[in-house]
């Protein structure tokens, strides 16, 4: 049975006004995959707060993001996030940011090409408006300018 995280969050932060989660009743937008994934340029994004080398850490309500070179090694990555226990991700970033695995799928021809760079941010942003209006348009621009054809997102 999936864990019911909405009531748990309410309990965890019960000193605060209950958080109003986004409830999108209307059907999501839809763009069909134009061709087989094996021919698509795929971009990877993680909300797990992954940082590369000396990149600055994330802050509260931070809608900035980081570009992670596709060739990044595991020991060049670190994790900065308030919203989940980061121990396992620090040990192995592939738990929330599967860059090594995606490189393998590219090498094996399962995806046409892995976009360079990959993208990370710190997903613990309470303001849905800020995510929609500040962060998302920048990501759309990053993906468009690199002709990305499929976008794979991993929360943490």
């Amino acid at each position: 049975m999936p864990v019911a995280y909405i009531p748990r969050t309410r309990e965890l932060y019960n000193a605060y006004t209950p958080y109003r989660w986004v409830m999108n009743e209307e059907p999501p937008p839809w763009t069909p995959l134009g061709k087989p994934l094996a021919e698509c340029k795929v971009a990877l994004m993680s909300s797990g707060g992954v940082l590369y080398r000396d990149q600055p850490r994330f802050h509260r309500e931070d809608t900035s993001y980081r570009l992670i070179p596709k060739s990044a090694r595991r020991d060049e990555l670190t994790v900065w996030h308030f919203g989940y226990p980061t121990g396992d991700a620090e040990k192995d970033p592939n738990c929330v940011f599967p860059l090594e695995r995606m490189r393998e799928f590219e090498a094996a021809g399962r995806i046409g090409e892995l976009c360079d760079p990959a993208f990370t941010f710190m997903g613990g942003i309470y303001s849905a408006r800020k995510v929609r209006e500040e962060l998302a348009p920048k990501i759309v621009e990053e993906l468009r300018s690199r002709n990305v054809e499929a976008f794979y997102l991993v929360p943490a």
């Binding site: 965890l12 937008p29 000396d54 592939n94 997903g123 942003i125 997102l153 991993v154």
Partner: protein
């Protein structure tokens, strides 16, 4: 919160004409934000693409997830994968994201120090 943010971005990106797929381990949050395509793995938060240092497990999850790019045809579908975190111990389901579950936030001074250390390591000559 991460699940909501990711779902919101997926909807915007999809609306801009690029197909998206979201991983999720928080079914209720993802169902509420309602992204175009999602794949559910019943693992504790922080392991949406698998267990640490278990590339085989990570590979299997991502392989199945990528397939959903091509198999989901109804907007808002959440595909559930069969992977089990620990067949003999499901206690994490009782404790994940309950009071006491999050480690204390590091103090600002410690965080600044860690950041300075990384800067020193990567900007003065001898990286790695």
């Amino acid at each position: 919160m991460c699940h909501q943010s990711v779902g919101l971005i997926a909807r915007e990106v999809e609306a801009a004409g690029i197909p998206t797929l979201c991983m999720t381990s928080a079914y209720d949050i993802t169902q509420a934000v309602n992204p175009p395509r999602a794949v559910f793995v019943n693992y504790p938060l922080g392991h949406q693409t698998g267990k640490p240092d278990d590339p085989e497990n990570q590979r299997a999850i991502i392989r199945d997830a990528l397939a959903a790019f091509e198999t989901i045809s109804k907007p808002g579908t959440i595909v559930e994968l069969p992977y089990v975190w620990d067949a003999n111990d499901r206690r994490w389901e009782e404790t994940d994201y309950t009071p006491g579950f999050l480690p204390p936030r590091p103090r600002k001074a410690d965080a600044d120090l860690a950041e300075q250390e990384r800067r020193r390591r990567y900007t003065t000559g001898n990286p790695g």
